[in-house]
């Protein structure tokens, strides 16, 4: 990495503010950089995985991409929600940027002459959308869920519903994250002193509703409208399903059996 290159951004703070609610929010350049830096870095590492000679350039190229594209006045404003998802725009732009940089280096190596490696050939060398894109989308989804849960936790604390967060965390989050069975109903009731099924059900149902509401609010910061938000959630679900072929196979077998 060039020692003169000062980092333009710091690693994003995941508990950061989410001030806006609509697509226009993405035109706030610094917010975009802070929020998506992690996912972009993961994606770039994937892009360069097959080019060991360029791996050391990753940090510089990411900084340059942020400076020349994201922070450049007018670039984000061109983003059109009608032309596709925002995260796809970031991915394709970074990919094109890296292709351009690699092309420049190849040309420079040959004293300014045209690169021996033809442009389309070079572009083909960059791996396709999978699995490089998967690493980006995983990082994106992790960031999305972390933000959602952080907001939910804050919301529960602010509305004096800390028990809702705790119950959701105990019954849903910890089992999902630790890969264990959720604590059974009796245990949950005893642990939280829930006096009736109505109380237990309402607490868990409230937690689920809050999760869904915050998830939509976080997505609404880069996708506009209910339809687009719904489509984003569906696409993330499809993406996860593709990463779990075994589970899908089991589901298909179950569906065929019924």
């Amino acid at each position: 990495m060039n020692p003169e290159t000062q980092p333009l951004v710091e690693t994003p703070q995941l508990s950061g503010e989410f001030p806006g609610t609509v697509w226009m929010e993405v035109t706030d350049r610094k917010t975009v950089v802070n929020r998506y830096f992690g996912a972009l870095r993961v994606y770039l590492a994937g892009l360069l995985a097959r080019f060991p000679e360029y791996r050391n350039e990753a940090d510089d190229w990411l900084q340059d991409f942020i400076k020349d594209k994201i922070l450049h006045p007018g670039w984000l404003e061109k983003a059109d929600p009608n032309k596709g998802r925002f995260r796809d725009l970031l991915k394709s732009s970074l990919r094109n940027f890296v292709t351009g940089e690699m092309r420049k280096r190849e040309t420079a190596k040959r004293g300014g002459k045209l690169a021996v490696v033809a442009l389309d050939e070079l572009e083909q060398e960059i791996p396709g959308p999978e699995p490089v894109s998967a690493s980006f989308d995983m990082a994106w989804l992790q960031m999305l869920l972390a933000e959602t849960l952080e907001k939910m936790k804050e919301g529960c604390a602010a509305s004096e519903n800390a028990h809702v967060w705790k119950i959701f965390e105990t019954r849903v989050l910890q089992p999902a994250l630790e890969g264990v069975e959720p604590p059974p109903y009796e245990e949950l009731v005893a642990r939280f002193g829930l006096r009736s099924p109505a109380q237990a059900t309402n607490a868990l149902a409230t937690g689920k509703r809050m999760f869904a509401r915050h998830l939509r609010a976080v997505i609404a910061q880069y996708e506009s409208g209910d339809k687009a938000v719904r489509a984003e959630i569906d696409s993330l679900r499809v993406f996860l399903n593709k990463l779990m072929p075994e589970q899908n196979k089991n589901l298909e077998e179950k569906a065929l059996a019924t």
Binding site: Q174, P197, T201, L243
Partner: protein, 173 residues
């Protein structure tokens, strides 16, 4: 100390170490139609309802009859299986259950409420020879049969309902 009691500010940060299966389980919480409890947990939910103190459910809706004051610290099970429960209290339980069927958004809670509703009717018929409301014979019989079909309903309650069905068949006895 169990994991729920720990003040663990990093729970959400664990997301960044999680794979697709974990993320899918969390993302699935967005689907409103997913059941809250596992089918095998319905027995525990019903048992919880039966051992819950009646005032926990009836007091918030202002449905604790004064003539049943001595029962205020009893559980649903103690009232419904009592040899001589106050009719007013049985009616309060029935009304509470009816309200829960109407208001609950969760289908599993509605099922629990429906079972409670028919059980209160059964207690009224067996202990006092009285109908707690205006349900017709076919409606009541259908409801009792539905309740008897719930695998999670306890034997004692099933016996109470069967007794009520017999009483309906031979009202003169």
């Amino acid at each position: 100390m169990n994991s729920a009691d720990r003040d663990d500010p990093d729970t959400t940060q664990t997301i960044f170490l999680s794979g697709p299966k974990s993320l899918a389980r969390i993302l699935a919480q967005d689907q409103a139609e997913a059941a809250l409890w596992e089918p095998q947990e319905m027995r525990a939910v019903w048992q919880h309802q039966m051992r819950a103190p009646i005032e926990a459910d009836l007091a918030p809706i202002g449905s604790s009859p004064q003539e049943a004051a001595e029962f205020s610290d009893k559980s649903f099970s103690e009232v419904l299986h009592h040899a001589n429960p106050p009719v007013a209290l049985l009616k309060s339980i029935k009304n509470f259950a009816k309200q829960m069927i109407k208001d609950a958004e969760d289908s599993q809670l509605k099922e629990i409420a429906a079972a409670l509703y028919y059980t209160s009717y059964a207690a009224g018929i067996t202990r006092h020879g009285q109908r707690l409301g205006g349900m017709s014979d076919p409606e009541l019989r259908g409801g009792f049969e539905w309740a008897l079909g719930r695998v999670w309903l306890d034997e004692k309650t099933k016996n109470l309902i069967e007794e009520a069905m017999k009483a309906m068949e031979s009202p003169g006895e």
